[in-house]
């Protein structure tokens, strides 16, 4: 941009510009330094360490032993690893549709309430998002207590048998997905709501004048126009579901009978309980590769949007 003006300037001024450029460069590096050093040291170096350690056999106490791709070969035949991958996938299949559908429907419903009531309810649904996974876990452990919990009290009151919930291998994973969904529905509703506000009201008016009912309008106007935000939410929730850990660490420790032993939990256990740090790093790297692919898709979508 400055090229044209520079060429017409006298030599002395040219030097002035040059030293200005140098100054600007130095100042920019000064401004970036703290974050760049931080990112390099605490995000990039760890990823490189993980890669390095994943080629070694290491139990922390003894020195590392280089075994090449040994850990990666081992994981292929590790039944527990594949079980954890399968469990994670099951979790994704429960969590993602649940969060997606409920948040979307809730947003559409809240959006149809006029006036300040809308804002009030939006806030109300959003409260669980602000509490931590630890607190959410303890609340639901209390509610789902097999003997005395509130939910079983209700079930008994309406004549249904009490359930074990987190203690039952066939229910535990769903309970965890449910708790996570409960926390996040308000959050994704807000994202959906923001997108709904971008749809011109005239679209709806025209459709209703043509005699369309709510389901028609949702199917042929609302849902297609939310395409971008739909994809965004699907990918972000999928990536999040691959990384579920806190609730499982607190509520089930991977049990009962390995029913909630998801990948991140299995990685954690290998490092901090079995002391197989090299192997655990290899597992983490495989997980990273999977998440990376999904992130690339997300980045493509987000980038496509901001280019408009």
């Amino acid at each position: 941009m400055n090229n044209l003006s520079i060429s017409t300037m006298t030599t002395r001024k040219k030097y002035g510009i040059k030293s200005k450029k140098v100054k600007e460069n130095l100042f920019a590096y000064f401004m970036l330094a703290p974050d760049v050093i931080g990112i390099a040291l605490f995000i990039f170096v760890p990823i490189l360490i993980a890669l390095y350690v994943s080629f070694h056999d290491w139990n922390v106490l003894e020195p590392m032993k280089y075994i090449g791709l040994g850990n990666y070969k081992n994981l292929l035949s590790d039944g527990q690893w594949w079980h954890s991958v399968w469990t994670t996938l099951l979790y994704t299949l429960m969590f993602v549709p649940m969060v997606f559908c409920i948040s979307l429907l809730l947003a559409v419903f809240v959006n149809s309430i006029p006036g300040s009531a809308q804002e009030f309810f939006r806030t109300l649904y959003f409260i669980p998002y602000s509490i931590s996974t630890v607190v959410a876990s303890l609340i639901w452990r209390f509610m789902m207590d097999p003997q005395r919990g509130f939910i079983n009290d209700i079930l008994r009151a309406i004549g249904l048998p009490a359930q074990d919930f987190l203690g039952n291998p066939r229910q535990a994973l769903f309970c965890i997905a449910f708790i996570s969904a409960w926390m996040l529905i308000g959050y994704y509703s807000i994202i959906f709501l923001a997108a709904l506000k971008d749809i011109p009201v005239s679209y709806y008016e025209a459709a209703y004048l043509d005699g369309a009912n709510f389901f028609h309008v949702f199917k042929s106007i609302t849902f297609p126009l939310l395409k971008e935000v739909n994809t965004f939410v699907l990918i972000v929730t999928t990536i999040a579901s691959f990384q579920v850990f806190d609730q499982i660490k607190i509520l089930t420790n991977g049990g009962p009978a390995d029913a909630t032993n998801v990948s991140v939990y299995y990685i954690y256990k290998n490092a901090f309980e079995y002391m197989k740090v090299g192997y655990s790093s290899a597992l983490a790297f495989v997980l990273f590769a999977i998440i990376f692919v999904f992130s690339l898709i997300q980045l493509r979508i987000t980038k496509g949007n901001s280019d408009e």
Binding site: A50, K249, F285, F288
Partner: protein, 276 residues
């Protein structure tokens, strides 16, 4: 006449909607309400299913405080505050440089920073732990705080914010003889107050609620933050439920206060994390 009929019908629809919304709202918030009332019930009445406590007691809170929850609270407060403030300053600086300054390698730097968003924390936890051990930062505030500061998300949002500001801001300042640092601190920083509050709220809550990293970096009980202490407290078989609920309340109180005081900023932050 048909008009008043229609108005009546609309009114009916509105009321039905509000009633449904209220029922949904109660269902969503009820478990949190249960935590609050169970925290003031006596140990023996916690599972009595009463929605309003029969006997009111602060026993749960006394037990929680005897378990050192005061200490964990101040640890949490210190960690979250420091991370938030330092992160805001650093990210504003980086975001500003990426948005308003010309320098060699700008584009590459930006892409490099953004690419770290694709590295999930669960993948770097173990190597980060190894690194902390090397630094001798385990069981220290340094270890909890410093690795939590760098984050591409805040940098990116500051950049997006600064990039939208008009060009004549710098020109006027340069004519006035402002230095580079002066332009940043005297002109741009004051203008970024609103986004700083929005990001500050998001950072504070995220760090207050963070569990995985403090869990891994602190074994010593005196260094625990609330989330770690609480998870440990729940995991012990002898812990009375009213005390667990009381410590839960202690843990969420600051967040609830922020929630109601700065709710607009919270919502704004979420919208930003969406598609922008």
């Amino acid at each position: 006449m048909s008009k008043t009929l229609e108005a009546k019908r609309n009114r009916k629809i509105y009321i039905t909607k509000v009633v449904i919304a209220a029922i949904l709202g109660i269902m969503v918030v009820f478990p949190i309400y249960m935590m609050f009332i169970s925290s003031v019930k006596p140990k023996s009445d916690v599972f009595d299913m009463k929605i309003i406590p029969g006997t009111f007691t602060l026993d749960g809170y006394t037990t929680a405080l005897n378990e050192n929850f005061g200490r964990y609270f101040s640890n949490s407060l210190f960690v979250s505050t420091v991370v938030t403030l330092v992160a805001l300053v650093f990210h504003a600086m980086s975001g500003y440089a990426l948005a308003r300054l010309d320098f060699v390698g700008k584009k590459g730097m930006f892409l490099w920073i953004i690419s770290t968003l694709m590295i999930p924390f669960s993948v770097i936890t173990i190597p980060l732990f190894i690194l902390m051990k090397q630094f001798d930062w385990l069981n220290s505030f340094k270890g909890i705080i410093i690795p939590a500061i760098p984050h591409a998300y805040g940098i990116f949002l500051y950049r997006q914010f600064f990039i939208t500001m008009p060009d004549d801001l710098e020109e006027a300042a340069t004519i006035d003889g402002c230095s580079y640092l002066g332009i940043f601190t005297k002109i741009f920083l004051p203008l970024s107050k609103s986004i700083s509050v929005t990001l500050g709220v998001a950072f504070f809550i995220a760090n207050w609620n963070n569990y995985l990293w403090p869990l891994i970096v602190t074994q010593k009980q005196s260094m625990w933050v609330l989330q770690v202490a609480l998870a440990n407290f729940v995991g012990r078989s002898d812990t009375p439920w009213n005390a667990i609920m009381a410590s839960g309340v202690i843990t969420v109180i600051p967040i609830i206060i922020i929630f109601f005081a700065l709710q607009k900023h919270l919502v704004e932050g979420i919208k930003m994390s969406g598609l922008k």
